[in-house]
């Protein structure tokens, strides 16, 4: 929902032809780094998100956990997920900030059939443009993280913008600004990967979390929100897919099989046209005989006949 002038666009959903200005400007890839090991579940980021985006405070759902509601919503883009887990016979409370991952290979953008409804900037932010959204919901099934949410009243889909309106002005996202423990970081992708790697190393070597690691799934070419997890071998424990993928119907099917289908349809139309031209029609039999008197074909013949 930002001003597209701010960033250079890298990809446009369902856009045939080149992206205007693609690759003409230098842009750093941005990244949020979430260190779940230092998250205390205070939900300051949730509030900051609601405030910055001017969303109304909505009803919460109590389901015997500290979680505000079961999933993110169309006007609640940032949600701390609380998972109760066990480690060495003791309770371990896993708190993870759930939001759009801003994938390098975004499933929502691949799935979208509306030209310009989803755009990806050179800096890696994936942003929905509601004025172009047709509300079909394909992005919802294209997303491996269940993030885009449909608003039945406006019939549009909404999700986290990575505060593209703030980032465009040189500010960090609102959630980062609000975090009291410093578990949220924002910067370039390379910097974030580096400090996340250092933190994971520290956890492995000094804190006894032998499986600690960085969650930056390569099955979708990496994300622009990365996590440091206590146990990188089981991201499912945090509600994250180990190998997030985009359905082939939104990749191979859309860009290979569909144009082929259109081509075949076009060839079919040409085929019947040339069938008519070459083979000719099937007339009711027996065909009517030719006209009784052969008509003089040219003016020349007509002139000759005259006395």
């Amino acid at each position: 929902m930002s001003n597209p002038q701010t960033f250079q666009i890298q990809e446009i959903s369902a856009h045939p032809g080149p992206v205007p200005g693609q690759g003409t400007q230098r842009a750093e890839e941005v990244c949020k780094y979430v260190d779940v090991t230092t998250c205390i579940g205070c939900k300051a980021c949730e509030v900051a998100c609601v405030e910055w985006n001017n969303h109304p405070f909505r009803e919460t759902t109590f389901d015997d956990t500290y979680q505000t509601m079961p999933t993110t919503e169309w006007n609640y883009w940032n949600l701390i997920k609380f998972a109760e887990d066990e480690r060495d016979g003791n309770l371990m409370w896993l708190m993870r900030k759930d939001q759009c991952m801003h994938c390098e290979d975004p499933g929502c953008l691949r799935a979208c059939p509306a030209d310009g409804a989803i755009i990806k900037y050179e800096n890696g932010i994936v942003d929905f443009q509601q004025e172009n959204c047709i509300g079909c919901g394909y992005c919802i099934s294209g997303c491996p993280f269940d993030i885009p949410k449909f608003h039945p009243k406006t019939k549009k889909v909404y999700k986290c913008t990575l505060c593209s309106d703030r980032v465009g002005q040189g500010l960090e996202p609102a959630c980062i600004k609000a975090c009291p423990t410093g578990c949220l970081h924002f910067g370039t992708k390379s910097d974030m990967v580096q400090i996340a790697g250092l933190r994971a190393k520290q956890l492995r070597e000094q804190s006894g979390f032998a499986d600690a690691g960085v969650y930056d799934p390569q099955s979708i070419k990496g994300t622009h929100v990365i996590y440091v997890l206590h146990d990188i071998k089981n991201p499912e424990r945090y509600g994250l897919p180990a190998n997030p993928t985009i359905p082939a119907s939104y990749t191979a099917w859309k860009w290979l099989a569909k144009p082929t289908g259109l081509l075949l349809a076009g060839l079919g139309v040409l085929a019947v046209f040339f069938h008519r031209i070459s083979v000719g029609p099937r007339l009711p039999q027996p065909e009517d005989p030719p006209p009784i008197e052969p008509q003089p074909d040219t003016l020349e013949e007509k002139r000759k006949e005259q006395p």
Partner: protein, 262 residues
């Protein structure tokens, strides 16, 4: 069930004839009653609307071309499932109406075997066993039935996508497209056969009648069934009549020309 369906169709045809009519002139046969014609065009209109609005969403290449026809992207998205639903409902009635004549027979198997001669136009008159519908028409009908069911199932899943799993939506999306391509292939052939390929056919769906000549050429068994006359014989008689007429004309011409030459 089939008895009650038949009774329903009979009644529908009768009722439709009350506010519409089909004029059958001499030398013509009634091909499609009012009820069938109205249904056919309701199915056709809703199909074309579904096809155009669907194609807008089907391919990024067509999005900008086709969405303006329906008032922009969101409106296209809103209308498409409704067009589809209308298509399904109208076709359901046509399905019941045509179920009996569309039953597959041995004659259709033979028709499919000689489809090459049919398309190359080698045999000018269809074989004696081709009835009200030929094998190709029946294939198209059953292709619509199959893709119609696929459209309905996958379409409803995509319409209420919040209620089912993500992978099911992704699969539905592909199946919906395949059904559309199958129907489009049949649709192109259908329009061609009904107009340019076989002159005298289109009026069967507008006026509701066809000439007897058309009937014994394209649907001999049906011609025999409704007239009680042998189609081959009728064809030969017409050929004979034509030859006679030509001979008579030639004679008349010769007689007219002779005095001048003397």
């Amino acid at each position: 069930m089939s008895v009650s369906v038949d009774r329903f169709d009979e009644r529908a045809r009768r009722e439709a004839d009350h506010f519409g009519k089909t004029v059958v002139h001499r030398g013509e046969l009634l091909r499609h009653p009012v009820y069938t014609r109205v249904l056919h065009w309701l199915v056709a209109i809703s199909f074309v609307l579904s096809l155009l609005s669907g194609f807008a969403i089907y391919s990024p290449m067509l999005f900008k071309f086709l969405t303006p026809l329906f008032g922009g992207g969101p409106m296209t998205r809103f209308l498409h499932p409704w067009f589809g639903l209308f298509f399904e409902v109208f076709f359901l009635f046509q399905f019941l109406n045509w179920l009996t004549p569309m039953m597959w027979t041995d004659a259709d198997r033979r028709w499919v075997k000689r489809v090459k001669q049919y398309t190359s136009n080698e045999a000018r008159v269809e074989p004696e066993d081709v009835g009200f519908f030929n094998g190709g028409q029946k294939l198209y009908f059953w292709a619509i039935v199959i893709s119609g069911m696929l459209f309905l199932i996958t379409g409803v899943l995509m319409w209420f996508d919040q209620l089912v799993w993500r992978w099911l939506i992704a699969v539905s999306y592909v199946v919906h497209d395949l059904a559309a391509l199958l129907m489009l292939a049949g649709f192109i052939i259908h329009i061609y056969e009904g107009t340019a390929a076989m002159p005298g056919t289109f009026r069967a769906m507008t006026n509701g009648t066809v000439t007897e000549k058309w009937a014994w050429t394209h649907h001999p068994a049906w011609y025999r069934a409704v007239t009680g006359r042998d189609s081959r014989e009728a064809y030969e008689r017409e050929k004979h009549r034509q030859a006679e007429r030509e001979r008579a004309l030639a004679n008349w011409e010769r007689e007219r020309d002779t005095p001048e030459r003397r």
